[in-house]
């Protein structure tokens, strides 16, 4: 499936798409709609999708992949940016204007047990979209179309399945029915959100096979949303790797899997547990987890976990805290007991734009705290955070640490995929 796409016509064009959710944090912000924190679920994403292509949106939970998939269909309202279907703008359309477009844009959801109405037979469930979009001339044509579609997704004998309720179907059969409902309107684009991850291993291949088969038979274009790199590698033509609302790398399957550029992509590919026992998981996995989307890190969002980070990546106060905690974790009890008293309450670590104020422990001399930090810096020259520390000065009740201002990297061209990483920043 890794052959490059032959189709050249652009079906969907996405530019600087943003979906921001405001999470009201106080009564005032709830009333005024201002001042609350904002989660940037999708934060400036651009790509083109060609006809007949399969694009994978791959990322971990919280990366924004599902929100992006839904935003393409107008199922969540983008806060800015543009999505064009064959040149026609979809962002900003009212629900009424959008509805007729929906027959061209369909979705298959992750959980087939929840996406079908338990009280509707497949006949009713599949006839609904036809009636809503007035795609058939009458009951006889609807009846025929439902059976034809059931046959197409492999649910035969169609007479039996048309009468079935979802409760009488296995997981794989339910997902086939959900796919049937998505394709019955004759869509151009199907967004498939983790369509196989709820299914057992022995069934996944059948559903992927069906999606591939349908793509060829009725000319579909897919956006495949998944956290599973292995199935994306098999199924997609191109892959976009997402992290905290951004595409951090995008390229063909060959580019992404043969020669990943972004340190995050490299880590993801190495971290997949493979059934091949001769391949062991690497020891140097990125530390930590995806940060809070309401408070994304400065600079490159991946820098706190990145083994290749350097001075421009956006170091800040939080990184100082993480560094201290990791040191105490690895150094054991003795080191912790010796060093902890010199440092004040870590919750009171103050951050302004590019510097941090680390309070000294109560009754401790800030000079001793500075000496401790200098000592740690000397002992851990490989800790990437230190490359971003410009200055450290003892002040009245603690130490001020000044960081190098970071750069938030856009997607840069490389000799393969495009990657949002400062390692590829042109001179």
């Amino acid at each position: 499936m890794s052959a490059s796409p032959v189709a050249t016509k652009t079906l969907i064009e996405v530019r600087d798409l943003q979906v921001h959710f405001s999470i009201a944090s106080s009564f005032k912000s709830r009333v005024t709609g201002r001042g609350g924190a904002v989660v940037k679920a999708v934060d400036g994403v651009s790509f083109d999708l060609h006809e007949g292509e399969v694009l994978g949106l791959v990322g971990e939970s919280g990366s924004g992949k599902t929100t992006l998939g839904r935003a393409l269909l107008g199922l969540v309202k983008p806060t800015a940016g543009s999505v064009k279907l064959r040149g026609e703008e979809l962002v900003g359309l009212s629900e009424r204007e959008l509805r007729p477009k929906r027959r061209h844009l369909q979705m298959v959801f992750q959980d087939p047990h929840a996406s079908l109405n338990p009280g509707m037979t497949l006949e009713t469930a599949l006839a609904h979209p036809l009636e809503i979009h007035k795609l058939t001339s009458g009951p006889a044509e609807t009846h025929a179309k439902v059976r034809e579609t059931l046959e197409l997704v492999g649910l035969s004998p169609t007479e039996r399945f048309a009468e079935s309720l979802p409760s009488g179907l296995s997981g794989g059969q339910k997902q086939r029915a959900a796919i049937a409902r998505a394709i019955i309107t004759g869509p151009d684009l199907v967004v498939a959100d983790e369509p196989v991850s709820m299914l057992d291993m022995s069934v996944r291949a059948k559903i992927l096979d069906l999606l591939i088969d349908l793509k060829q038979r009725i000319g579909l274009t897919y956006v495949y949303v998944t956290h599973d790199l292995a199935s994306a590698k098999f199924f997609c033509d191109r892959v976009a790797i997402m992290y905290l609302g951004r595409i951090v790398e995008i390229g063909t399957v060959d580019e992404i899997f043969e020669d990943p550029k972004h340190p995050y992509t490299q880590a993801l590919i190495r971290a997949i547990p493979e059934p091949d026992p001769d391949k062991a998981l690497p020891r140097d996995l990125p530390r930590g987890e995806i940060p809070d989307a309401a408070r994304p890190p400065l600079g490159c969002s991946f820098h706190p976990r990145c083994p290749k980070a350097f001075n421009l990546c956006g170091w800040e106060a939080r990184d100082l805290r993480t560094m201290l905690e990791e040191r105490w974790l690895e150094g054991g009890e003795e080191l912790y007991n010796a060093e902890r008293p010199l440092v004040g309450d870590l919750e009171k670590l103050k951050a302004t734009e590019h510097d941090a104020f680390l309070p000294a422990g109560s009754g401790k001399d800030p000079g001793d705290l500075l000496a401790l930090l200098e000592k740690i810096r000397g002992e851990e020259p490989d800790e990437p955070m230190w490359t971003g520390v410009k200055a450290m000065n003892a002040e009245a009740h603690g130490v001020r640490v000044t960081f190098e201002p970071g750069i938030d990297p856009p997607l840069y061209p490389t000799d393969g995929a495009q990657a949002a990483c400062l390692l590829y920043r042109p001179e």
Binding site: E60, D200, M201, A205, F257, I272, P275, L329
Partner: protein, 340 residues
């Protein structure tokens, strides 16, 4: 060789349903050695979670059981609830799938640990309890600075590591982990698998790791038992089973797993059987590409195919197949309508 710390003998567990008894676990024999990690692999509905809970005596009311789960010479299934309760924790631990819902949101992490230690090791002083807890947390990568925080202040991966630390702080002899990384992201999953792999080197705790992911077995287990329709159809060293499976089901399951090296899709036709009325003979025979006439009639014997390895399949007992029954099984092709 040391004695097994936990040993299952012909374990059967069934649930009552309107249509009859659902035989979720149907005659399983399995040993767990001290310090060993055994992977229990199978698809949904094969009985692996029921088996895991049965080992801890955590069966729901109305479940019936037969056979033996012997731990240090006593059959767990015969113990009184009170005896069992005092064993759970210090002797038998459990790690659940959903780390987000297993910690009390109103209790600090420190309270969770101190409560567990106070109940099971009342002689331990406050300071000792604190040190023991911090040590267990440290082993799982939770910094001591966060000991007094509440569960909501931790991410999913950290909560799962806290759960593991909480299971290990009492130093149990056996821990059952039911899909401990399924709800987590790839990188966090890899971090936790590393921790579990290190665990078996550093502690004497035996781990029964229940999973549907063969990649995890290859990564973190010493031995593996493959379950299908309530039976362990194959068991042996993880390396051998994942490189050269000897039961057709294990082989087909491995082939269907989509990995980075997959170049062709493969699936197993049909669906797992209804456990109220499983098929006669070998339970896998309706889906098995190697099925012979005998497979549909007689239960296959469990054969040792190599040291430490057992497989329940007529392919490994061909000399005992009654005359005339070794020919390939004739059957209709399986339609999509019968599919899983």
């Amino acid at each position: 060789m040391a004695d097994p710390v936990l040993s299952l003998r012909d374990l059967r567990i069934w649930y009552g349903a309107e249509r009859g008894a659902v035989r979720a676990v149907d005659g399983v024999s399995l040993d767990l050695m001290p310090g060993e990690t055994v992977g229990l692999v199978g698809e949904s509905g094969c009985g692996k979670s029921t088996l895991g809970r049965g080992v801890l005596g955590l069966l729901p009311e109305g479940a019936g059981h037969a056979g033996e789960v012997s731990f240090r010479g006593r059959n767990i299934l015969d113990l009184k609830p009170r005896e069992l309760r005092s064993m759970r924790g210090p002797e038998l631990g459990m790690i659940f799938q959903e780390p987000m819902t297993r910690l009390n949101p109103l209790m600090r992490i420190s309270d969770h640990f101190e409560e567990v230690l106070r109940i099971h090791e009342p002689k331990l002083g406050k300071k000792e309890a604190r040190n023991r807890s911090l040590e267990a947390l440290r082993g799982m990568g939770i910094p001591p600075t966060r000991y007094r925080q509440y569960p909501h202040e931790f991410s999913g991966g950290m909560r799962q590591r806290i759960m593991i630390a909480l299971a290990l702080v009492l130093r149990p002899a056996v821990v059952v982990a039911d899909e401990p990384t399924t709800a987590l992201d790839v990188l966090v999953e890899a971090q936790i698998l590393r921790i579990l792999a290190d665990l078996r080197r550093n502690f004497d705790t035996a781990l029964l790791l229940i999973t549907h992911n063969l990649g995890i077995v290859a990564e973190a287990c010493d031995r593996v038992a493959v379950m299908y329709a309530g039976r362990v159809v194959e068991q042996g060293p993880a390396y051998d089973v994942t490189t050269k499976p000897s039961h057709p089901y294990s082989r087909e399951l491995l082939r269907s797993t989509i990995s980075l090296s997959t170049t062709e899709l493969h699936s197993i036709p049909g669906a797992p059987p209804d456990l109220v009325s499983p098929p006669p003979g070998c339970r896998f025979h309706p889906r098995c590409p190697n099925a012979m006439a005998v497979c549909a009639q007689q239960w296959p014997p469990t054969e040792a195919t190599s040291p430490g390895r057992r497989s329940e399949c007529w392919l490994h007992a061909q000399d005992r197949i009654p005359a005339g029954l070794e020919k390939p099984l004739e059957r209709e092709t399986i339609a999509t309508s019968e599919e899983a």
